[in-house]
Symmetry: C2
Subunit: 158 residues, 2 copies
DNA sequence: GCCAGATATATGACGTGTCAACTAACGTCG
DNA sequence: CGACGTTAGTTGACACGTCATATATCTGGC
């Protein structure tokens, strides 16, 4: 006994499909630069960004999992690959012997330092440069609202 | 001789990271419904949507590749999996013996017909319902601009 | 001190995406 | 006709993500 479906209006569909298409385009364009020119995937980049922002370039794996909002197994698999390529390394945790740290290697720091300026340029070239400051603000607000509504009540319930 | 990098302002970063986060949340939420309740991935859904919209539920594979903007090999791999699950089938092409058609099966039609109302509800629940009509229009415009600027000059150059 | 959960991480299987290489059929220009 | 470049589609290898499961350690009663 489902009520009649309220299909999407033209504008609603334009917003939804446009969001998906815009996202894919931007991810492809920015990702290709990073991959082709610096050998980093977008995910490598975010992992390195979190690590270099942390004191001593070290984080507990659970901590990384939390800030990135990635499943633990995803983090584990990804770190295995990054370790293999010399971007990070694992370290034991003295306090909690179950636990482990990830640490950026010198090579990892070099990689993200090299890639970061180009990445920011790409974000401007493919995305921000086509929008007015007003549109950028609007989009930031839209994203904040949607994220907040979807996240509250699922994690850290009051 | 690179100029100094113009790093992102707070708002710019909020827009960029917010876009990525919002997208991931929405894709996860809507994807999980479809997967758990109807056994379809988001990509299955879009393939079936294109096919059911086409006359006779048939499309040349190249045509599908073009409208979805997917690499040929991606299409091919995905169709192989969908065929295995009985959602679509391949047919030979008489006119051009290199070519092939994909056709939705009855099962495929049933699957998307069952999933569509729920999908639309999800798009509303997780996304549209949290925004004002003005914001939805704004977002549609933003997506259109960004997509248009990134696509023109790469395909179908004037 | 010990045992029953809970917690931190790793692993294997499998679906998905990309890239490069391959097969087969078209089209054309001599 | 026949060699040649192009087009349609497939395939295999490999990177990535998710799920279920395994292993080791911690923690809180008793």
């Amino acid at each position: 006994m489902t009520a009649e479906t309220r299909w999407l209006t033209t504008t609603e569909e334009r917003a939804w499909r446009g969001l998906l298409r815009m996202h894919d385009l931007l991810v492809n364009r920015t990702g290709r630069s990073m991959q082709d020119e610096f050998g980093l995937s977008a995910t490598d980049y975010t992992v390195l960004a979190e690590l270099t922002r942390a004191p001593d370039g070290r984080l507990r794996i659970q901590e990384l999992s939390r800030v990135l909002e990635w499943e633990k197994s995803r983090v584990s698999h990804h770190l295995t690959r990054m370790v293999r390529r010399g971007l990070v390394s694992r370290e034991e945790c003295e306090d909690d012997r179950r636990g482990a740290f990830v640490v950026v290697t010198a090579e990892g720091r070099a990689a993200i330092a090299a890639a970061a300026p180009r990445h920011v340029e790409d974000v401007r070239r493919y995305f921000l440069d086509h929008l007015t400051p007003g549109q950028i603000t609007l989009l930031a607000e839209i994203a904040d609202v949607v994220v907040e509504k979807n996240v509250s009540g699922r994690e850290a319930a009051p």
